[in-house]
């Protein structure tokens, strides 16, 4: 009887631990949501809207945040967390592309100037 009681209490402890773990992973991903929104703002600030490739990823990020909010309302927090990871990665890519575009344009401008001057020197 004593042995049986010990087994029961062990099972309960294990079940409790599992329940805690489950509850922890399914908490609302508020921090992830804030981080995603912050990444979107960063991309907007560097002019991602004006760079077509960046604008596309910015749009995807916004759509995924809305999608994640719906999952959160439905209590599907794990799914929401992953969708927010997708949103963050799109926003970060938009930021990178928006920073890259003017640097490429400046480099091309300098290369064109150099080419024109070289042609002039050669004449």
């Amino acid at each position: 009887m004593k042995m049986f009681s010990l087994r029961i209490s062990g099972i309960c402890a294990a079940a409790g631990a599992l329940c805690l773990a489950a509850c922890a992973t399914s908490a609302m991903p508020q921090e992830r949501l804030i981080a995603s929104q912050s990444s979107i703002r960063a991309a907007e600030e560097v002019g991602a809207e004006k760079v077509p490739a960046a604008a596309l990823h910015l749009q995807l990020a916004r759509e995924q945040i809305e999608q994640a909010k719906k999952f959160m309302q439905q209590g599907a927090n794990e799914r929401a967390d992953l969708v927010l990871q997708r949103a963050s990665s799109d926003a970060e890519l938009a930021l990178a592309l928006a920073r890259e575009a003017p640097l490429r344009a400046q480099a091309q401008q300098a290369i064109d100037k150099l080419q024109a001057l070289k042609t002039k020197v050669a004449q």
Binding site: E92, L93, L97, A107, I111, L117
Partner: protein, 290 residues
């Protein structure tokens, strides 16, 4: 009874073999199932994006971001091994693809910065080269001009009659011809003697083909200023036209009527007035300006 017991014994002997065969079959089946498991499109894209980033300048220019991309891809691959059909696998693969694209973009930005620095450096060098080239061309042109002026002067000085008529001034080489030698009084038609003299001058000026020549017609102050100015111009034009006929390029020569405005002597004596009635042929020091 004996037969039955022998069959049972045979069945007992076969049982372990049958169970081994079953296990092998189950393993084969599991293996077959694993091998045909389709890879999600997101994971295929993520692998492609990572391979592209690694093959590009990312390894050198964005190694940290490339490392992050590799970690994301590993997470997606592990998830695919554990749960091939799970939506999480596709999500993690999607994130991994974006991380690889970010690495590629950061490397592209760094490369653009380097290219700009390199191009600007080349631009500076090319400008220096062009300046040196221009300076050398200018020096060469100046040298050629000085040589040409010297040759023209030497050629003019060789003509005995013009020896004292040639002067080097700041504005260039000036040949002064007396008005009474070139024209009749108040006229602008060249005298035959003047033509011979101008033939020699035209020949000497052939050394100055790249230089601008200005012919100035000067008069004394007797009579109306307007008439003198007009006479000065007509005389200068007559000389310039004659020189053009003799081969001096028309776009290099011009005629100016100065009238009585630039006397070289006083107009109160006959000698002074004679000195003022003159034509000056100026071979300009600057080859480009008229």
């Amino acid at each position: 009874m004996l037969i039955h017991s022998s069959r049972a014994a045979a069945a007992r002997r076969m049982a372990p073999q049958i169970s081994r065969l079953g296990a092998v079959a189950a393993l084969l089946l599991a293996g077959a199932c694993a091998s045909v498991q389709p890879v999600p499109r997101e994971l295929v894209d993520a692998r492609d994006a990572y391979n592209r980033a690694v093959a590009g300048p990312g390894a050198e220019l964005a190694p940290a971001q490339l490392h992050t991309a590799k970690q994301s891809l590993d997470r997606a691959e592990h998830e695919f091994e554990d749960e091939p059909e799970a939506v999480e696998t596709r999500d993690l693969a999607y994130v991994a693809q974006r991380k690889a694209q970010i690495a590629e973009s950061q490397a592209g930005a760094e490369l653009a910065k380097q290219q700009e620095v390199q191009a600007n450096k080349g631009l500076g060098e090319a400008k220096d080269s062009l300046n040196q080239q221009t300076t050398a061309q200018l020096a060469s042109a100046k040298e050629a001009l000085a040589k040409s002026q010297m040759q023209t002067r030497e050629a003019l000085v060789k003509m005995g009659g013009l020896k004292n008529a040639v002067k080097q001034e700041e504005r260039g080489l000036v040949i002064t011809l007396a008005g009474n030698v070139l024209f009749g009084s108040g006229k602008s038609m060249l005298l035959p003697a003047a033509r011979r003299q101008l033939d020699e001058i035209a020949q000497a000026l052939s050394h100055a083909r790249d230089q601008n020549i200005v012919v100035e017609g000067h008069t004394d102050a007797t009579g109306s200023r307007e008439i003198n100015a007009s006479l000065g111009h007509r005389r200068a034009k007559a000389v310039a036209d004659y020189l053009i006929k003799k081969g001096i390029p028309g776009d290099k020569i011009s005629a100016v009527g100065k009238g009585p405005d630039a006397p070289v002597a006083g107009n109160h004596t006959a000698e002074g007035r004679a000195s003022n009635r003159r034509v000056e042929i100026v071979v300009q020091a600057q080859g480009t300006s008229k």
